[in-house]
């Protein structure tokens, strides 16, 4: 750490490590912040930013390592402990209680036994005015806009005499003007000696606002330094500069670029859905793997769900989707499946498999839901046949196809979920995070399987946050940002840097 700070850091994390059921979220992270410092924290999705901050805010406890506040060792078992020490985290989705007034929210957790309503409103008014916030303390929080809610959150932090405020993506919901007000406020807090951690995907903001920046990658701290030495390019390089010796991805790169364009199967044109998908356009070709990269909230999952009928695009001005030249609009996934479009979910536990059922039953349900597999009565023989066939094809490791799905490992559960969709004979497959929470061996097998699908002439779309996955699988890479496809790379020209650069604004 080579910064010319005048005083001891206010808060330090020494060798912070957090393990979630075998997977390391952060490893030996050293981090420090001084009084009145604005410290930026950047990194890809899943790099460990939130984990680090949650540990500081007491929402989780570190597996090893320690947190030192004024060189005193601290153990934050609950958020209340952290709050008592003056650390407040302002989450992306606000933690305010919508049915209470602004003033009630501000004093929440610090009420006396008797609270006089009038006194409370006067105190809140004074506090808000001292910070130049134009928010009515008697207003119900549910009636406020995003920026005003943020102000209330901050006022609450100040009321709790916060010494360190952690902002998780604070500017994501703000308009440009509100953003200026917010920056102004941050500087005023800094002048009062409050330390601020600023998590953001918007690198320009981080560069403009912060004094120092820490870059996390794969749970490790890869860079800490004063902002004035940094540029956007350097930051991006730090964020993605992954060790390329991860062998199981290295060999997978296909050298041959397809000579002729195959048949266009799916064409998405100017599709709009609420605020998540704003004018998305792209095409998908038979026999090709199209990778979609982008940060969480870029609309990549939503567009896949729109195409597969799980979400509905806007009814007017919603854009067009063509399947083999024929316009389509699905009300429910069943219709999309009948037309050969399937979506393999990103969260298998939440909406992927049926936990009370066996492997073959799970796969057979998928078969029954298709027009060609439909029958009034169940067929034991068909169920066994389908189960055995797919257990072999997907290399599912289980005693036999009659094993219960809850007894399988994450990778094998994922294979069952994939099989449940592929038994429906799709022509277009959307894989959303196909290898999330899957062990290394299964990742390789799932990747091989996805490639074999494309080789059979099926149009495959892979959505992933993990850049090496996108790079090793895709023939063509699309980058989504803020509900739009902003870049398209061929497999040959794409690099992690280029994709990351396009994905963050």
């Amino acid at each position: 750490m080579t910064t010319e700070r005048h005083e001891e850091p206010m808060l330090r994390v020494v060798k912070g490590t957090k393990v979630y059921g075998g997977a390391r979220a952060i490893t030996d992270v050293d981090f420090d912040i001084g009084r009145g410092e604005i410290h930026g924290l950047v990194g890809e999705n899943g790099a460990g930013k939130s984990t680090l901050c949650k540990a500081l805010a007491g929402a989780i406890t570190l597996s090893s390592g320690e947190i030192l506040l004024d060189e005193q060792r601290q153990v934050f078992a609950t958020p209340a402990d952290a709050l008592k020490a003056g650390i407040v985290m302002v989450y992306q989705e606000t933690s305010l209680i919508p049915t209470m007034t602004v003033a009630q929210n501000i004093i929440l957790g610090r009420e006396k036994y008797m609270t006089r309503l009038r006194g409370m409103y006067i105190a809140a008014q004074q506090l808000l005015q001292s910070m130049n916030f134009h928010v009515d303390p008697t207003a119900m929080v549910s009636t406020l806009g995003a920026a005003q809610k943020q102000m209330v959150e901050i006022a609450r932090a100040v009321h709790h005499r916060a010494r360190l405020i952690i902002f998780d993506e604070p500017t994501a919901t703000l308009t440009p003007e509100e953003k200026l007000h917010f920056f102004d406020l941050i500087h005023r807090l800094k002048a009062e000696g409050v330390a601020i951690i600023f998590i953001s995907h918007a690198l320009e903001e981080a560069l403009e606002l912060t004094d120092r920046v820490t870059v996390l990658r794969d749970g490790e701290c890869v860079h800490t330094g004063p902002t004035k030495d940094l540029t956007r390019e350097i930051l991006v390089r730090h964020m993605v500069g992954r060790d390329l010796s991860q062998t199981y991805y290295a060999d997978a790169r296909k050298p041959d670029i397809k000579q002729t364009r195959r048949k266009k199967v799916l064409s998405v044109q100017n599709v709009i859905m609420g605020k998540m998908v704003r004018n998305m356009s792209f095409s998908v070709y038979a026999g090709e793997i199209t990778g979609i990269s982008g940060l969480i909230g870029s609309g990549r999952t939503e567009i896949a769900k729109v195409v597969a009928g799980a979400l509905k695009r806007n009814f007017i001005y919603g854009g067009m989707i063509y399947l083999n030249g024929k316009p389509i609009r699905y009300r429910i996934p069943r219709q999309a499946i009948a037309d050969g479009i399937v979506y393999v979910t990103e969260d298998r536990k939440l909406n992927g498999f049926f936990e009370t059922m066996r492997i073959d039953e799970n796969i057979y349900v998928g078969r029954l839901a298709t027009p060609e597999g439909r029958s009034t009565l169940l067929s034991r023989r068909e169920q066994t046949r389908v189960g055995t066939e797919w257990v072999q094809r997907m290399k599912i490791r289980a005693i036999n196809s009659r094993a219960k799905i809850v007894e399988l490992s994450g990778g094998n559960q994922q294979k069952v979920v994939v099989a449940k969709s592929l038994v429906q004979n799709p022509k277009v497959v959307f894989f959303d995070e196909p290898t999330r929470g899957v062990d290394v061996g299964a990742i390789q097998e799932i990747h091989d399987f996805i490639r074999s699908l494309a080789a059979q002439g099926i149009a495959v779309v892979v959505i992933s946050s993990y850049l090496p996955e996108i790079l090793s699988l895709s023939d063509r890479i699309l980058v989504a940002r803020q509900g739009r496809i902003v870049e398209e790379f061929s497999a040959a020209e794409a690099t992690e840097e280029k994709i990351m650069y396009a994905a963050i604004h």
Binding site: A308, A310, I332, P333, R334, I337, A338, Y343, T345, K349, L350, N351, G352, F353, F354, E355, T356, M357, E361, Y364, V365, G366, L368, A369, T370, R374, S375, T376, L377, L378, K404, E407, K420, S421, Q424
Partner: protein, 345 residues
């Protein structure tokens, strides 16, 4: 840490059927437990309660549990699909009474029954519509629709509290009082309904989809199950079965007393369903287990009547049994925080 180890060992125990001899409730299964308890209580009653183990009493017992059991089959299908139908008793009373009234007015047996059945199915379809398409939680939908049906029935469709069966319809009375080869007809009907329910749930695609939907509604939707049609059918089935239960009730006493709506009948139905091991979290349970639950509750109630136990005490016993069964359900199938939905029970 020790907890984790303990949980892991339980899981292992259930995965390998003949695993280590560690005794855990999970390995036994609620059905077996309920059947064992039933046999135990039944034998105890047979020995200790005078007049219990007689042909006449067993026959009475069978008749009295039949209505409960028929309703239970309908409720089971709905609860497996992660729903709840509290409007069953209102449908039982109003639709059956309306049928009797129409037949009495000279519409003919077939037409009267068809209209009653039609009304019952319409109520069920409305329930399914409100739950799956409007999105009102099942608890509130069926609570309100039950009261609605009862109100409309009493106000517009029926004349008094009690509707009597028309006199020249022996077939109708036979539903409640007749015997087939010495077996009371209500029991035969119960057996038939249970068989149909069992076949639908275990042998048809629709039944498999009910389990899938109850297990994980969004996964079922993404897999391509038409969840709305499925939900509407479930509630329509439950209502139709309730109408049949109403006819059996009407047949046995030659009349329908609509005040049954304010009795604790629906409570008893839930009791047998939950007791039988149909999880309120959905996706688990079978008709067989409901039969076990029905037998247990039937035995318990009959024995208490023979022992001349006060009504209030009977209620206390039933409540304690229900709470115990739900606690067991929670222990055996803990609700996953992630998959819990708003409005879940």
């Amino acid at each position: 840490m020790t907890e984790v180890v303990a949980m892991a060992s339980v899981k292992d125990g259930s995965s390998t059927a003949r695993g280590p001899a560690t005794f855990a409730l999970k390995n036994v299964g609620q059905e077996t437990l309920v059947v064992a308890t039933t046999v135990l209580i039944f034998s105890l009653c047979a020995i200790l309660v005078s007049g219990f183990f007689t042909l006449a009493n067993i026959s009475t017992l069978a008749r009295s549990v039949s209505v409960l059991g028929i309703l239970g089959v309908g409720m089971t299908v709905v609860v497996i699909g992660r729903g709840l139908d509290l409007s069953q008793v209102a449908v039982l009373a109003i639709c059956a009474a309306w049928s009797l009234k129409l037949i009495g007015l000279g519409y003919g047996l077939a037409a009267g029954l068809a209209m009653g059945l039609g009304f019952a199915i319409a109520v069920g379809a409305f329930n399914g519509f409100a739950i799956s398409i409007i999105g009102i939680p099942a608890l509130f939908t069926t609570l309100a629709s039950g009261t609605l049906v009862y109100g409309i029935g009493r106000w517009l469709m029926l004349d008094g509290i009690i509707t009597y069966a028309p006199e020249n319809q022996p077939l109708l009375l036979a539903l409640g009082q007749g015997e087939l080869l010495g077996i009371p007809i209500p029991l035969v009907i119960f057996a038939a309904v249970a068989l149909v329910g069992h076949l639908v749930l275990s042998r048809t695609t629709a039944g498999r989809f009910v389990y899938a939907f109850g297990d994980n509604a969004e996964a079922a939707r993404l897999t391509g199950v038409s969840v709305r049609v499925l939900t509407i059918s479930q509630y329509a089935f439950s209502s139709a079965v309730a109408f049949l239960a109403g006819l059996v009730t009407a047949g046995s006493v030659a009349s329908i007393n609509t005040n049954v709506f304010s009795s604790s009948l629906i409570f008893d139905v839930l009791l047998i369903v939950v007791l039988g091991g149909v999880s309120l979290s959905g996706g688990r349970g079978s008709i067989a287990s409901v039969l076990a639950g029905t037998a247990l509750i039937g035995t318990l109630l009959n024995a208490m009547i023979l022992l001349d136990v006060q009504g209030d005490v009977q209620n206390i016993v039933k409540s304690v049994v229900l709470l115990g069964a739900i606690t067991l359900d929670r222990k055996l199938h803990p609700r996953d925080e992630e998959t819990a939905r708003q409005g879940d029970l």
